[in-house]
Amino acid sequence: MSTSQAPLNEALLRDVLRVRAEGDRSTGELIDDVLFVVGSSSQTRGWQPRPVTISQSILVASAAMLLLLGALIGSLLVGAQVRRETQPIPTAVPAHVPVQPILRPFVGLPPVDAEPSTPETGELVKSSSGIHPWYSANVYADGRIIWSGDSDTGWVEQRLSPEGVDLVRSGAASLDGQYVAPLATLPDSAWLDRTVRAYVPARFSACYWFLDDYDADPADALDAFPENAKELFANALRTYYIRSDGEGTPGDVHCHDLSTKDARRLAAILPVAGALVLGENFNSSDFAIVGLDQIGEATVSEDYTIPKGTPYLYVSPLLPHGESIGAGLGG
């Protein structure tokens, strides 16, 4: 006997739910991803579940995913020189440009199903930053103009036509101007698509160093990371130093360019491993690693003062020409 006189089509409901429950990704893949984040069983660092004082809750993990990739870095990297150490940036150009229906920009990691801006890399034609209604803008040979209103609102992109790119390249059209958006006064013929869409980065940079320690090689901070994070770095798209003074001396930062997927994994790994998330709001990008192998004993003062020499990491979206978005904002 039924508990209600519901006119529900039971068979249809079951079928609808069955279809909704189908998916592309396997349970094995899910388990693998989770185990990768929590650390492989062969990891030598002895992990113990900690009573929570610093990073125990998944709320922190969620916050970290935003914090970690918040688009701000500050001026540390401004004017820096990049020395390529390992692999070049891949230059494959997809055959089509997807229409990305995300109109609202974001700060931090992109939505999980957002398609990245294409092509992944791009030749920078002209760049401008300063005090405008918008903050910074970059025009690429493929027609993209990628710009930001301010550091907290995320980056957006539009598409110029070849004519528009030529106007910028020749200097006939200036990126500077007190308009709501850069190049807003160009005619329609200069545009392939005026629609303002969120810029979805395809790559992120993860850079680390020892806080306030200018004598140490920042690459040595790698030792502070858990094994699964090291594995991500070992398979990075690119590994390099960023020199704050161009002299090639220690005291700078050591970086790895990661795919969005790996940046997302890193964001999940670090809080699990006990990294301390700094900052009290989601607009901070500060993300410190404090004694990953002794997180229970990590000492950080209540005002978040971090001891000199603490391994320190930030992660930032990359623009198509390989520059960190945070570096651009720092200008």
Partner: protein, 187 residues
């Protein structure tokens, strides 16, 4: 036969207890063994609740990672499944909030390419049911999924939710009524 089932049940429970204890102590292999038989259920539940593969995968992943982090704080290990399900439902709720903040409108191409009147009626009924389901809260979706997708009896639904059987029955009835009302609204 009954005693065999009970024995299997006891062995399974004992095994789960041992795995939970080992996982709480930081044994990742035990954690893997613990969640492996549950991962498929979690993923399917998240997909059915959210209707989006990427969000569902992330919700299931976050729930399992949260389980690893928070396992030492689980006071009653007999409620592990209820606790894990609650964690998943919370992640699904977060995913829906995030999704609402985005201005994405997806068009179901298959729905838009109907060929016959019968197809049209069937598709319309299906679309209405889907739309009605989307109007429900995450908790309402969850209990409907447990009953109509996973075919769990009330006792198991109650165990998954961590509530008495009577409460589970009441919640299921309420969720069905909510779906009926939503269906009327869609019609």
């Amino acid at each position: 036969m009954t005693s065999d089932v009970s024995a299997v049940g006891r062995a399974s429970t004992l095994s789960a207890h041992a795995l939970i204890a080992a996982a709480r102590a930081g044994d990742r292999n035990a954690f893997a063994l613990l969640v492996e038989p549950r991962a498929g259920h979690l993923l399917a539940t998240a997909r059915a609740i959210l209707g989006n593969e990427a969000d569902a995968y992330e919700a299931a992943q976050e729930a399992l990672i949260a389980a690893w982090i928070q396992l030492p704080r689980l006071r009653d290990i007999d409620r592990f499944d209820a606790w894990l399900n609650r964690t998943l439902v919370n992640r699904c709720r977060d995913a829906l909030r995030r999704r609402k903040r985005m201005t994405v409108r997806e068009i179901d191409i298959e729905t838009a390419t109907l060929t016959t009147a019968d197809d049209a009626d069937a598709q319309a009924e299906r679309a209405a049911l889907l739309a009605a389901f989307e109007r429900l809260s995450v908790d309402e979706r969850h209990i409907l999924v447990l009953h109509h997708l996973h075919d769990l009896p009330l006792a198991q639904i109650a165990a998954q939710l961590g509530v008495p059987v009577g409460t589970a029955k009441s919640r299921l009835w309420t969720a069905r009524r909510a779906l009926e009302r939503a269906l009327e609204a869609e019609s």
